[in-house]
């Protein structure tokens, strides 16, 4: 079974600074998808960024980028120029890619990010 680990329960960053959120996962599969989701106090989960494991290039979405280290099974999220609106819980998630596989997401426990003005 696949597992996703987010070992830091909380982090804090100064507005306009850069912060990196860590995530590791365990799988025996060679192809899969990885995601970062944001959950603000409204509870609505929002997709931040996605990465296909077979792509070597790290995904980037505006101020958000990932550092995907497949051999180390590490998938960290970097938020540049942090904004007050970035304060939320962030979840790392894994999804199988194999044919016929359930497309459910397996989530880590999340990390609470606070942004100091």
């Amino acid at each position: 079974a696949q597992t996703v680990t987010q070992s830091q329960p909380e982090m804090s960053v100064q507005e306009a600074e850069t912060v990196t959120l860590s995530c590791t996962y365990d799988t025996s599969e060679s192809d899969y998808y990885l995601f970062w989701y944001k959950q603000p106090p409204s509870r609505q989960m929002i997709l931040v960024i996605r990465q296909e494991a077979y792509k070597q290039q790290n995904a980037t979405e505006n101020r958000f980028s990932v550092n995907f280290q497949k051999a180390a099974k590490s998938f960290s999220l970097k938020i540049s120029d942090s904004q007050l609106g970035d304060a939320a819980m962030y979840f790392c998630a894994y999804r199988r890619i194999s044919s016929g596989a359930n497309s459910k997401l397996t989530f880590g426990k999340g990390i609470t990010l606070s942004v100091r003005p």
Binding site: Y33, R43, Q44, L105, F107
Partner: protein, 115 residues
């Protein structure tokens, strides 16, 4: 159009009572998922519907939990004889399909409190 909606937003019930949680997916989305988010935990998969295929119920924690999806649209998650450990936020998500670019869109969840 509208996003995924869930009702009620909050539900308080007494131990032993049955509850029904509703999810209205985005129109045209064939895949629907239920997840549970307990305090301090990540989201835990419960059940998955895809088109007319048999649902994947592998995440349901006990036989007190069941779900159905009528007409390929609205889904209801039913918890019978609720227990205090059932207290959690129940999130529903839908997607147009199951490929990677078929993003799962989440609803705002139902916060269930069992007294």
């Amino acid at each position: 159009g509208a996003g995924v909606s869930q009702s009620p937003s909050n539900k308080v019930t007494e131990k032993g009572k049955d509850v029904e949680l509703r999810c209205d997916p985005i129109s045209g989305h064939t895949a629907l998922y239920w997840y549970r988010q307990s305090l301090g935990q990540g989201l835990e998969f419960l059940i998955y519907f895809q088109g007319n295929s048999a649902p994947d119920k592998s995440g349901l924690p006990s036989d007190r939990f069941s779900a159905e999806r009528t007409g390929g649209s609205v889904s209801t998650l039913t918890i019978q004889r609720t227990q205090q450990e059932d207290s959690a936020v129940y999130l529903c998500a839908s997607s147009l399909g199951v490929g990677i670019y078929n993003e799962q869109f989440f609803g705002p969840g139902t916060r269930l409190t069992v007294l």
